[in-house]
Amino acid sequence: MAPRDPKVLVSEVSVTFESHGRSVVALDRISLEAQAGEFLCIVGPSGSGKSTLLRVLAGLHRQSSGEVRIQADHPGTPLTAMVFQEHALLPWRTVRDNVTFGLENRGVGRGEREARAREMLAMVGLARFARHYPHQLSGGMKQRVGIARALANDPEVLLMDEPLAALDAQTRTIMQEELLRIWATLGKTVVYVTHSLEEALLLGDRVVLLTARPGRVSEIYPVDLGRPRGLEVRGSPAYGALLEKIWTRLREEVVRAIADDRGADHEKSDA
């Protein structure tokens, strides 16, 4: 394949937080890229800055140094749209008005907004719930609305921050299949943060492994498990081997993250 400009280019991005008068390095010179239409998964132990990286991509947090470039192919649509972990829907808006929220803010006309909402709600299987309020929906349904809201904006890149983490195991499995179907239909570039390696291998084209704090790119693994991919992939030897291989590395980082936390606790009790 001829080399082309990546859809998402993250180069040497660092993020430093000020916390209790000390500076904490959350992300340390992260470099990665995602090709157009790629499903890129980011895994790492808690505290590795996965969500921070996503927030930088979403423009919700400014990096301390480094550069983020997102290739804009469709002028007039936003660069990114984020699906939040706790869905973050507006409780006072109906499902439909949540989905059209971004379009409304950009001044898209009513007719187009509603057509778009219908289309997206049909895609996530919530056509009958357009007039419901979020509190009337289950956790899985709320997250479907979150996905419809993001997709309605037709973003260049879809960002997902552990979108299924708060769901029960069965709902999560169903939603993973749904995500694969939607991604196959729309061909969006997706950057997907998860703490589940199994989920990353089911969904992703590549898996970026971040280290414990400060978050650095430890390794990037291609997921050569073919497409279209379904839950049955979990039974294949290639899947098992790759899972084993990445888990061995991830495990070291998780152990290190736990040790760091203990160390921090000791410091606290010394102080």
């Binding site: 984020m82 973050a88 507006l90 006072w92």
Partner: protein, 259 residues
């Protein structure tokens, strides 16, 4: 929801207790266990209430009191919500006003009457301004809190999806604070009633508070209790009216009445 039988099983005591109380009162006054001069029979009070309603006295006084509550509450609501929103959104204002409010708020409103009378004409205007003070603080407090408690993640999501300035206010901050604003309005309305009646007792010749006090001074005890009952009923009606309005206007709030 629940079956009516089950509802009755859970709530019979709520319905039965006032009825039993009235029956015991009736019995005690009739048999002389309570002195009928101070505690007339409820049936006598009801007859007096009926008379007061028939000759129009009750309506004039009720209308006067209602008008005062209306003005007082509206003044408190408009200023309270405006100041509360500003304090919720703008930290320096919050930091500056918090100590002032903390000092003024616990002072019983009636005590402001003399001061207010120096500034505005004594009479109805002074009464309305005085009675608005406590409600104003209540409404401002709850409104500020309403803005402060909005889920940060929801605000962040709204920003991410392009809501800015005025739109952020009308689509996120205001609706997010509304359940608390309503709670403040409900409390404020209750206090408007309490304080209007209290101020009427000390300084007015018309209104339910004045009627109650006058009845007491000339020992028309039945009329005093009748007025008492009307005030209580008015309070309950206003409170439930506002709760019903809230349920209509805020359909997104689950289990209305919990908060």
């Amino acid at each position: 929801m629940k079956a009516p039988g089950r509802w009755l099983a859970e709530h019979w005591i709520t319905i039965a207790s006032p009825v039993v109380l009235l029956l015991v009162w009736e019995w005690a006054s009739t048999t002389g266990r309570l002195r009928a001069v101070f505690f007339p029979r409820p049936s006598t009070i009801a007859a007096h209430l009926f008379d007061l309603a028939l000759d129009g006295t009750l309506w004039t006084h009720t209308a006067t009191t209602l008008a005062r509550i209306g003005w007082s509450f509206s003044l408190a609501a408009v200023l309270g919500v405006a100041v509360g929103l500003a304090m919720g959104l703008w930290r320096p204002l919050r930091d500056g006003l918090d100590p002032v409010f903390a000092v003024i708020y616990p002072i019983p409103s009636v005590l402001f009457l003399p001061m207010v009378s120096f500034i505005v004409p004594a009479g109805d205007i002074a009464l309305v301004v005085t009675t608005a003070v406590t409600s104003f603080f209540l409404i401002a407090f709850t409104t500020t809190h309403g803005v402060r408690q909005i889920d940060r993640l929801v605000v962040e999501a709204a920003l991410h999806y392009g809501a800015r300035g005025r739109r952020l206010f009308t689509t996120v901050l205001l609706p997010g604070a509304l359940p608390f604003i309503f709670t403040g309005l409900r409390l404020g309305l209750g206090f408007s009633l309490i304080v209007v009646v209290a101020v009427e007792i000390v300084s007015a010749s018309r209104g339910l508070g004045a009627l109650l006090w006058l009845s007491w001074q000339v020992l028309k005890v039945e009329d005093m209790y009748a007025t008492f009952f009307v005030i209580a009923l008015l309070g309950a009606l206003l409170s439930y009216g506002l709760a019903a309005l809230r349920a209509r206007l805020l359909p997104w709030v689950p289990d209305v009445g919990d908060r």
